[in-house]
Amino acid sequence: MVYPGALKKLVEVLCLFPGIGPKTAQRLAFFLLGRSREEVVAIARAMVEAKDRLTFCEHCGSLAEAEQCDYCSDPKRDRSLLCIVQEPRDVLVLEQTGKYRGLYHVLHGALSPLDGIGPEELKLDRLVQRIEKLGLEEVIIATNPNVEGDATAGYLARLFNPLPVRVTRIAFGLPVGGDIEYADELTLSRALEGRREM
């Protein structure tokens, strides 16, 4: 199909988004064409503004609009607890639970020698310094339950061993509200391993 030049460029740009193929990109492009000029400008401005105003907190690495994020600057948060996650979006998910009131630390990745990501890339020396400075009681490791996430958790546990702090790993198990019969074997076997006294 032959697109006019400007449309072709728009579709190409939209294709850069994760999970967007040529067909969806075309749909999105026609959606934009159908809006008024003001609306399109507002969308574009929202993107640029988000990019300009959001940075990563210099203490914990989560998304912030200032040097310090809302979690680090909030005096009401529990400063004896630290939760370590892989990505900034993991912080948002944990926040939505409303159950966790401690501090965060975002690694921005997991150990993966094949991708050239080692302890230096994750700036783990800074994490150790931070833990020492905060005088924490407990560190919760909430990396993803896959090969790289598990290795990262193993590495961190070893790294924190000399520190006077309790180190825990988030539990794995069944989705709440689900049926045991629909759980896959691996999840179920991990859930069995992590069972607890009642």
């Binding site: 020698p113 302890p119 090969v147 290795a151 590495y155 070893r158 790294l159």
Partner: protein, 377 residues
Amino acid sequence: MFYLERLTLEGFRNYRYQQVHFHPALNVITGNNAQGKTNLLESIFFLSVNRSFRTRKDHELAYFDGHCFNLKGNFIKEGFNHAVQVEYRSNKRLMMKVNNDHFNRYAQIQNYPVIVFSPDDLQMISAGPSVRRRFLNLEASRLDSLYLKELKDYQRVLNQRNQVLKNYLPRARLEDTLSPWDQSLVELGVSLIRARVAMIKALEIEAGHFFSEMTEEKEKLSLEYASTVPYCGDREEMKELFYRDLLNKRDQELRRCSTLLGPHLDDLVVSINGYNTRPYASQGQKRTAALALKMGEVSLFHHKNDLCPIILLDDVFSEFDLSRKQQLLDFLNKSGGQCFITSAVDLQGMVEKLNRTYKHIVINQGCIRDETVRTGD
């Protein structure tokens, strides 16, 4: 009762378009050489395992190196129809559908079991350990879905760990960097080895039984798992031994930049009367041993799932002597599973002794030329 009722091939190997109906018990496929007999078996195997038993490259399966093929099979399982469909397009992910629900490749590997025996299976005995590991991995994955997941993870851990070994880190940092990968390697490696050993024990009984019948009790088949890691009954103890050996191998691993211990280097030793078949057995013995491993799998599946897998025999009857052929036919008859036999010559005389109806299909240049249901008497 489990069988393939109907199969449609589109653009697969030398089949442009062909639909075939099968007999629920026995199908004998004949035709001259290079007409498409094995291709038909290959398509049935592909529907079940999402991989060919002849090549690892999907594009070779497309009609004279075209860009796509479709396979559709109607399996009848406990009276219910399961429409299993596979669609291949070059540069796209293989698409698998069961009753119109989409699945990833290998996701249905346990549900429509098909076991093939072809002349290439001689390699299981005479070639290097990787062929036997592939056999163990495929069969264990089909019997236990946890195995497939752990195998995938193990392979990934192995690649990551080898990369660390290649990075030439200073000794002080090396131990810290390797340690989490060692931990995962040991954890997953021990699981895989234990699953393989358990399967081999069960397989030895079934395959051994088949083998003694084939050789009229004159020879005894035994299987042993040859591991690079010491095996012991207690899981935790085994992990410690694995870990200890890994530390001892550190220098050697760093020189070779690769992991030198673990299930990715293990082997299955097949012996007849106590002698390893690979160096000592005759061609005929090797072939019988390979067939015993496959038919042992049939019985294992049958016991575990109460469902006899579909059996594909590619050109086997030309290879065995008369008494072994007869034993094999008796086994097939007793197993009760659906069976496909290809042959370049008509097997009428042989099969009719079974006294049962079967379907005879004649293939010529990727088309079915003749189909007849023959009765045993």
